[in-house]
Symmetry: C2
Subunit: 334 residues, 2 copies
């Protein structure tokens, strides 16, 4: 009998890094799509920092994943059975299909992926949610103007790497923040940022000042904590801070400290605004169009870090996001 290997949430995680035992991996009978539904054979699952929040019980922008439910996740795959005329067998689609080998969908909030334009994994990477997040977060909330200085934390990550490149396309001075000399080198040499500050280097404030001689106009926030504090002190008047992630706190075992320099929001009249890409759901085709065009023209480098191991590897691969072990957008090959 055909089976579907799934990764379920077995229990709520304790504070700290995710451990294998909070997930249960098992084989289920493969089900057929009902009326109006189709089935997707998943090729790649996206690993996103947001997953750490989805398994907590606290109030958030989506309900927590329930105990015993298949772990929520963005995935991309090929339709292998369909009772829905809008979704044909053989088409490639992406959506919240979960961490499993096969998913049943009715097509709601599912996007088509054009494999003639980019390989399958890219549709959960640079042309998927991380790309859309970078696009709308930077352009709609960051509103970068030519000549301004844009700083991006987690600069070598899935979202940060694209944010910085779009800011360059818009004529900004772009400074990344990343951990370690190797990542910083990749950010400047491969992605073309003007500078990259190593937050592990021990001189964050000083290095940031040197890299941003005219101050900071836009800070695209992926990290929070001490990095946010250091950046706040160097923000220019009327600066914008799209808050995309606060990864430094996601695995905290004690309540994280907040930014001590919040007074800069007042004195410099900064705007901090949280961004969740779902809020631009009806404009995603616009993001895909621009991102794909820039990529095709060689102006936007997109780099996926594809890991093997299938569904069973999910818990370990997820933790790479929080140890900084990935190099580009982390994707699991199913």
């Amino acid at each position: 009998m055909a089976t579907n290997r799934v990764c379920k949430l077995a229990k709520r995680p304790p504070p700290g890094m995710v451990t294998r035992d909070i997930f249960a991996i098992e084989d289920q009978p493969l089900t057929e799509p009902g009326p109006g539904e189709f089935r997707v054979k998943i090729g790649y699952v996206s690993l996103d920092p947001a997953m750490r929040g989805w398994i907590n019980e606290s109030k958030s922008y989506v309900p927590a994943v329930g105990i015993g439910e298949v772990m929520r996740g963005y995935s991309v795959g090929i339709i292998d059975a369909s009772n829905n005329p809008d979704f044909k067998v053989g088409e490639c689609v992406q959506g919240l299909f979960g961490v499993q080998q096969y998913a049943i969908s009715n097509g709601k909030q599912v996007g088509k992926a054009d494999l003639t334009k980019a390989p399958m994994e890219r549709w959960v990477g640079g042309l998927g949610m991380p790309g859309w997040t970078a696009y709308f977060g930077l352009l709609e909330v960051g509103q970068p103007k030519p000549g301004e200085t844009v700083v991006v934390s987690a600069a070598s990550g899935a979202v940060g790497s694209i944010v910085g490149q779009i800011a360059k396309l818009k004529g900004c001075r772009v400074v990344g923040i990343a951990g370690g000399a190797e990542k910083c080198r990749a950010v400047t040499h491969e992605l073309g940022f003007d500078a990259c500050v190593d937050y592990k280097g021990g001189n964050l404030a000083k290095d940031l000042r040197a890299a941003c001689p005219s101050g900071i106009d836009v800070y695209f926030e992926n990290v929070g904590g001490e990095i946010l504090d250091a950046v706040l002190l160097q923000m220019n008047t009327f600066g914008r801070i799209p808050v995309c992630g606060l990864i430094s706190a996601y695995n905290a075992t004690s309540m994280p400290e907040g930014p001590r320099n919040l007074r800069c929001v007042l004195t410099q009249r900064l705007t901090m605004r949280g961004i969740i890409v779902f809020d631009w759901a009806n404009r995603i085709p616009e993001a895909i169009r621009d991102l794909a065009t820039w990529h095709a023209e060689g102006k936007l480098k997109i780099r996926e870090d594809v890991r093997a191991g299938g569904i069973d590897a999910f818990p370990d691969v997820l933790n790479l996001l929080f140890t900084g072990g990935n190099n580009g957008k982390l994707v699991l090959k199913v």
Copy 2:
């Protein structure tokens, strides 16, 4: 010989409450206005939390008051000598005239005060900077919509009391936060807020939840610290937080902790934005017009807490702002 009694900044304050010895109060010879200038005999000096920041050396939205300079302050008074045709002897004017008995001005950033519409002290109170701050901060950044819940901290203070009343005029449910049963009673019974939470009552989160059954859409921030943390957890999606003041930190003797619940900015897609009233300088007549109209129609109560003692009393009266010893907009009669 006629003299001008002035309050100068003698030295930088140490962290903590302001002590008398950081100011030097002395009599100077009264000077005559030069070409294009006029002289104001000051009637009232406004006491504002911002003053605590103005005497620190750290980066802010205006340069720090220099050592040996007359303390910066909003004041209102009557012109008693003039070489400027636009400012006639006998006219009442308000502006940054400083903490002193007489000021020389060239008329830049000086506003006329119409004493037929309101008594002199009100032009540094409800019809002065605190009123304008409440008006633009709430309406432009808070953007309250009818039926929404607006929470205001320091609700009995100069700005907070006006914010809440404007929000009521706009059809919102309005909840204040203030310290002590007496202030809370004044906020609901005299100012007409729907509810007021006593942050000294020991159940801030619970009391706030009871007072805001539909969550919080706009939080007008005057205080920061633990109050901000409690409010953040109850903000609704797409909520707005105009940051007008962070008074809880102004006299901190150690670096204050930041808000630990900043993740709510992300998950609820909140907008936090710092506000400084100068940024709407060209629209101040609009604020005065609306505030004066509402006041004349009995829809807006304005309450000054006028203290006697003249220039010599300034350091002690200033500290009332930080001990919560004032009751309404604090003004010093010169």
